[in-house]
Amino acid sequence: MKKNLLLSLAATVLPLAIGGCATKAHYVQTGGNQSIVSIGAINIQDYTQAASTMTSELLASGVLDKVPNPPAILAISRIINNTGQQIDTDLLTKKIRVALLQSGKALTTTTFTIGGPAEDPMAQALQQQNQARLNQMTARTPDFTLSGKIIQTAVKEGSTSQSTFSFQLSLTDPNSGLAVWEGEKEITKQGGRGSVGF
């Protein structure tokens, strides 16, 4: 009798308990403190933090103010992904570009590229057309190029995992080939498993 009662009680409580843990789909603030935190992957808040920190450092350095014809023109060079996951580096660079544009200190060219097609092929074609028509360079050459690397360092001790993501950027003056500003932001996450919220 007692056994039956316990079994029926467990059958009622267990689904409720399990169901209580699952959350319904809902909106959260992008990058806010309710975001999912993964140990072995770069989360959206990591890109935002890295971009914000490095943009502030770049603006504070004053290097963008030293160009003869402000605002400075920036070309995005190669950002190497040395992590174990496939990532779109625009998640980092676009945030930096937008922040620099909003600051009024730099503009980014979308017609200069290395290798493949330009970011804006239409603008590039029109630019080339104008140059051919006027027989002179119409585009401003970039004052700086921005390159970088994203590196992951993962370690595990017992059931605790730790991942450090290093976001490294270099701003190079193409005339001298010298890096006039360099920034690095490291984000370390540790735990047994991922979690929802900071």
Binding site: T48, A60, A99, S103
Partner: protein
């Protein structure tokens, strides 16, 4: 008989409890130059406290600001952990223009942070544009 079982259990529980509690305790010593060269431009601040527990544990010692050569507003906040345990919290800077309008920026993140027991630390933020004139910083205790 009951006492015989209870006493060893209580002893084990007490030891485990003490180990657990002492494992969470941290403390911080520091040293700095006594004769300061730099002068901080302190700001008269206005606080809205809805989480008294966090405000008590992680207290705001002072706020100072500076305008960078590029015209950006840079704010530094000194925090003190008044407890003997590490405290985990997040903070976010908000920036306002001359008309008091909130400036939206692509990269205004919520930063997770931790402060050790008894530690005094600084957090800094720089405005996204030279148009920023005022600021607000939000603090929230972390859940994990």
């Amino acid at each position: 008989m009951k006492t015989r079982i209870f006493l060893p259990l209580a002893a084990v529980g007490l030891t485990a409890g003490l180990i657990a509690v002492s494992g969470c305790k941290t403390s911080m010593n520091s040293v700095e130059n006594a004769q300061k060269t730099g002068q901080r431009q302190m700001v008269t601040d206005q606080r809205v406290i809805t989480d008294r527990s966090l405000a008590k544990k992680v207290s705001i010692v002072g706020v100072n600001q500076v305008i960078t050569p590029g015209g950006f507003l840079k704010v530094q906040i000194e925090l003190l952990n008044t407890t003997r345990s590490p405290q985990s919290f997040s903070y976010k800077f908000e920036w306002f223009d001359a008309n008091g309008m909130l400036l939206n920026s692509a990269a205004m993140p919520t930063y997770p942070d931790e402060i050790q027991g008894g530690e005094d630390k600084f957090i800094t933020g720089q405005s996204p544009t030279p148009a920023s004139k005022d600021f607000r910083v939000k603090f929230i205790a972390n859940i994990n």
